[in-house]
């Protein structure tokens, strides 16, 4: 066997790739059994109020309709850990789209027809769904998401800003965004002999099992949640979603297996969104571009039922040296669907504003934007003073500039034409924190010399099985083909979600530890391996409980070349190039896919994606993939992802940082900065659609 199959970093093919492209991989809605009922949710059609009556007779008369679950007859739940899961429990409508009934029928079509025949009456009060920078309900919470303090101040940022010879004061507007994974949120639930089995499209079935146990008041040993294959999540499946609770309730109530797959049009209301942010950035610098003041203020929204605060000002605490800094989040609770996690929550939106402002500062100074960033490189993490475990930003910027051909750039805006096209280039930095959570894994040696790893990791399209096999094989000193990996089932050793770019670090650390223990056990083992094999279990509770004395982050640099149609204002990206410093890369093939996938998503954020809150109705206008514009293949240009291998001993046994999210982080700012270079127009609101460009065209 060649060394490439043993070495971490090798471009090993993803294990389930063939199953997926040939259609044999089965997803959560494809585990129906005979006798299965199909569910269809009846969403609230008011943005705020109470349900006063639900009449189900017409629905029950629809042929094939079995049951209609409402607040009147649905099983009672214990208080769930997430308020969005408390469905069909009372008459409150916290936002339009909140589930008020679930129709169960012998076919999907009957369920849908039944749902249309459910009559719901509401008592409504006025609703308030529009985020504004001066909304009277805005307040500063204790914490933003991720446990970060909502407000941090160092020195006197306002006084330093006022005293700075060069100042940027700009406000950036980001509308809501939706994750819209290709596979919708779906669950198939069945009860047998007092045991609940749920196939759920989730980023982590251990967490779904815990939530269901709590909500249903069941011992967790009586629940199995399976997420064998997941067709994308991007954060929207990172926490348990109502479909799992509804399917489990319905299966319990009816005694039949129940499948519930959320229609695309319904997803915008119940599976979360990236909250809109209004961001004011103030930068003060001397004439050499050395920052003296960094201020980043966020206004965002949350729903009436939970406080969720997009941590968009947090990256400003990490990126650049400045003696004075102020970073603050304010939030207002509105009658809107609950926002939730979306790829690089905080970083993607916050870095759009910060990196656009840095470009504005470079232009104000007449300084190259790469050079400006190099001049503000901190020695320690600015906000905490902690040393970086490793910080590859300057290396990424220099390597990216070299590969991209940046140094030939004429900084003058709106001077390059090619037929009707105006051409420009832009750069932006990226960062994403190193996160890790406790996980457990088993490692087993079989008599035939093969190995088996068990850990409840989830493959959401990243190649989790493959990289875990590589990690195990590297410890066991065996070809990766010799290692079977079991994931995606909550009966396996518990593990955290595929989220926060922490999956491989969390699961991999446990796999590494179990495999290491197995090697030691086998070293002491005499005689043949018994038929049942030799199995060890390990968990990383101890390691992950210790807080690192280091500031640990991945960094990156994005470069973009755009062409703007001078007639129509249509923006086309010609080239995207990212260079990332994220520790050791564990599988160069699947890592590249993740980087590139993130960059494509950032391209969508920059140019095409946006969710518009409808003030009259309280829902999002873009409710299907014809109107919510994810980039099409024709939008996606020559994309290159490169990386700088870092030898960082302060991470985990693999020496890796997360890579699932950093690809999106700097992309939107790099594209926006390139559009400014092409046209001279500094647009501070995404997406950069033709209507926004038109006023600035010749």
């Amino acid at each position: 066997m060649s060394d490439t199959t043993r070495a971490l970093g090798a471009p090993v093919l993803r294990r389930e790739g063939r199953d997926k492209v040939t259609g044999t991989a089965r997803y959560a809605a494809e585990h129906t059994t005979p006798g299965c009922l199909y569910g269809w949710v009846v969403p609230a059609t008011v943005a705020s109020g109470r349900v006063t009556a639900i009449r189900t007779a017409d629905a029950l008369a629809v042929p094939g309709v079995h049951t209609v679950l409402t607040q009147d007859n649905a099983p009672r739940l214990k208080e769930p850990d997430d308020p969005i899961l408390a469905v069909l429990q009372d008459d409150r409508v916290p936002h339009r789209g909140w589930p008020v009934a679930l129709v169960l029928a012998e076919s999907l079509e009957s369920a849908r027809a039944g749902a249309e025949a459910v009559h719901v009456e509401y008592a409504t009060t006025g609703h308030d769904v529009v985020l504004t920078a001066d909304h009277p309900g805005l307040y500063t919470p204790e914490e933003a998401n991720g446990g970060y303090p909502a407000l941090r101040e160092r020195g006197d940022a306002m006084r330093a800003f006022d005293a700075a010879p060069v100042r940027i004061d700009a406000t950036y507007t980001l509308h809501g965004l939706h994750n819209h994974p290709m596979e919708p949120h779906a669950s198939t639930a069945r009860w047998a002999d007092g045991h609940l089995t749920v196939h759920d499209s989730s980023q982590g079935s251990t967490a779904v099992r815990e939530s269901l146990a709590k909500a249903l008041g069941l011992d967790r040993d009586r629940i199995t949640v399976i997420s064998e294959h997941v067709g994308g999540g991007f954060g929207s499946k990172g926490t348990p979603r109502p479909q799992a609770v509804l399917a489990a309730m319905a299966a319990r109530h009816t005694g039949r297996p129940v499948q519930l797959s959320l229609p695309r049009r319904y997803m915008a209301a119940v599976v979360g969104h990236r909250a809109p942010t209004l961001q004011r950035v103030r930068l003060g610098a001397d004439r050499d571009g050395v920052l003296s003041s960094v201020s980043h203020e966020i206004a965002t929204h949350t729903s009436r039922i939970k406080e969720f605060v997009e941590q968009a000002a947090v990256p400003a605490r990490i990126m650049y040296a400045s003696p004075h800094s102020r970073t603050e989040h304010r939030v207002v609770a509105l009658d809107v669907p609950s926002p939730s996690w979306m790829r690089a929550p905080g970083e993607a939106s916050g870095m759009y504003a910060l990196e656009s402002a840095m470009d504005e500062l470079a232009n104000a100074l007449g300084l190259d934007p790469v050079e400006l960033r190099l001049r503000n490189e901190p020695q320690t993490e600015p906000d905490s003073g902690r040393p970086f475990s490793s910080r590859g930003l300057t290396a990424c910027l220099r390597e990216g500039a070299r590969r991209f051909g940046w140094y030939d750039r004429d900084p003058q805006p709106a001077t390059r034409e090619e037929g009707p096209w105006l051409l420009g280039t832009g750069v932006a930095s990226a960062t994403y924190p190193v996160l890790v959570s406790k996980a457990a894994a088993t490692a087993q040696a079989a008599p035939d010399g093969s190995y088996r790893i068990g850990v409840n990791a989830t493959d959401i399209g990243t190649g989790a099985r493959t990289v875990l096999a590589q990690i195990a094989a590297s410890v066991l000193d065996t070809p990766q083909e010799n290692v079977t990996v079991d994931i995606g089932n909550s009966d396996l050793p518990p593990a955290p979600v595929a989220g926060g770019s922490s999956g491989t670090a969390s699961w991999g650390s446990a796999v590494h530890k179990a495999a290491t223990a197995l090697v030691r056990r086998l070293d002491g083992h005499t005689g043949p391996i018994p038929p049942e094999g030799v199995t060890v279990t390990a968990d990383t509770g101890e390691e992950t409980a210790q807080e690192s004395p280091y500031a640990r982050h991945a960094f990156g640099a994005h470069f973009a070349e755009v062409a703007v149609d001078s007639l129509t204002g249509e923006v086309r990206v010609r080239r995207l190039l990212g260079v990332f410093a994220a520790g050791h890369i564990l599988n160069s093939r699947t890592a590249r896919s993740q980087f590139i996938g993130g960059m494509v998503m950032g391209l969508g954020m920059a140019l095409t994606e946006g969710s518009t809150m409808d003030p009259a109705f309280g829902d999002f206008t873009e409710s299907d993939l014809a109107s919510y514009h994810v980039p099409s293949c024709a939008d996606v240009p020559d994309i290159q992802a490169h990386w700088i291998d870092e030898d960082d001993p302060h991470l985990n046994p693999m020496g890796s940082k997360g890579i699932g999210e950093i690809g999106i982080v700097g992309t939107a700012a790099a594209i926006g900065n390139a559009v400014r270079h092409a046209t001279g127009a500094r647009l501070r609101e995404l997406p950069l659609t033709p209507d926004k460009l038109l006023p600035y065209l010749p």
Partner: protein, 329 residues
């Protein structure tokens, strides 16, 4: 489930009989819009008359040098047809600018002409919409209307016709052949779609039971092109589009036809602009003056004023390109 009957007639006559004999009947072509609307509850036909296998799938020359396009010819096939590509480039370009490859492989010529607006309120049965439910109101007028009409709309409806193909057909003076219970008639494409007025539920002048059997193109008169601006590079409806036909002799416009898409409840044939163009010097000043005259009647809503500028730019650019004053985009 919501039951409906399904019929696959063997002939146009049988299809028409079935359609006319059943008030809730709908003809099914590729189904790329109708089936979606059925799932959404916007359409609930009692009878689907599947005309997709009728022998209307040919593109043939007419005696006078034009083209006869069967109603079930798929959008992809029509776009790729050599006679269309050479004689009517605007039509081929418009088809290829629409939808996605998968949808174009399924969608038919007749169905394309009958597709409904993509106004978000029309597609959401939980909200009012005068087109879907006459008299219920139009939330788009004050609501999400960035993508909606600036020309030809009414108090009751501000929806746009979403077709690209129909815009090219309008500029090319195509005619639609209809078979109905009372026989056959021909309607110019420009007269086929209605302005909404106070009954926006009627998209077209088609009568109960009438079936589109073919679209007839007159002989190619001049070179043509189609330009479309949209929010992403593919698979997006037009923010604005233009189909233009132009011939120039001795520096003057000999023949001009112009139609806008994405800006009105129907393909918007720009007769006012054409009157200005005819016989005038073929220069950018004339083109701008002509297009401005056409768009002077535009009544943009709060958030879609940009469409007037965009349509203007597209039209002037297209005419300039056809006149050889600008390089091909």
């Amino acid at each position: 489930m919501r039951p409906f009957a399904y019929l696959r007639p063997a002939s146009v006559a049988e299809a028409v009989r079935a359609g006319a004999g059943h008030p809730g009947a709908r003809f099914l072509g590729g189904g790329t819009n109708l089936v979606d609307l059925m799932k959404l509850g916007v359409e609930s036909p009692g009878l689907l008359v599947d005309v997709s296998r009728l022998p209307l799938d040919r593109v043939e020359p007419t005696d006078d040098g034009g083209l006869r396009i069967g109603a079930t010819v798929r959008n992809s096939d029509l776009a790729a047809h050599p006679g269309v590509r050479s004689g009517y480039p605007a039509l081929s370009q418009a088809l290829l600018a629409g939808a996605s490859g998968q949808l174009r492989n399924t969608a038919t010529t007749g169905g394309n002409l009958l597709q409904r607006t993509r106004c978000p309120y029309f597609q959401d049965v939980s909200k009012p919409c005068n087109k879907r439910l006459p008299g219920s109101g139009c939330p788009a007028r004050e609501g999400a209307h960035r993508d909606l009409a600036v020309l030809g709309h009414s108090e009751d409806c501000v929806a746009t016709n979403p077709s690209d193909m129909a815009v090219a057909l309008a500029a090319l003076d195509a005619a639609i052949l209809l078979h109905g219970p009372e026989g056959e008639r021909t309607v110019p494409v420009t007269d086929f779609h209605r302005l909404p007025g106070d009954n926006p539920d009627q998209d077209t002048v088609i009568r109960p039971g009438e079936l589109i059997t073919e679209v007839v193109l007159p002989p190619p008169a001049a070179t043509s092109l189609y330009r479309k601006a949209r929010d992403r590079a593919s698979y997006a409806f037009a923010l604005a589009s233009v189909a233009a036909v132009l011939s120039v002799r001795d520096g003057r416009v000999e023949r001009a036809a112009l139609a806008f898409g994405g800006v009105a409840p129907r393909p918007w044939r720009a007769r006012v602009a054409e009157d200005v163009l005819r016989g005038a010097p073929a220069d950018e000043e004339t083109f701008a003056r002509a297009v401005s005259a056409e768009l002077a009647t535009a009544r943009p809503l709060r958030d879609n004023g940009f469409k007037v500028d965009l349509a203007h730019r597209l039209a002037v650019g297209a005419l300039a390109e056809l006149a050889g004053l600008a390089p091909p985009a």
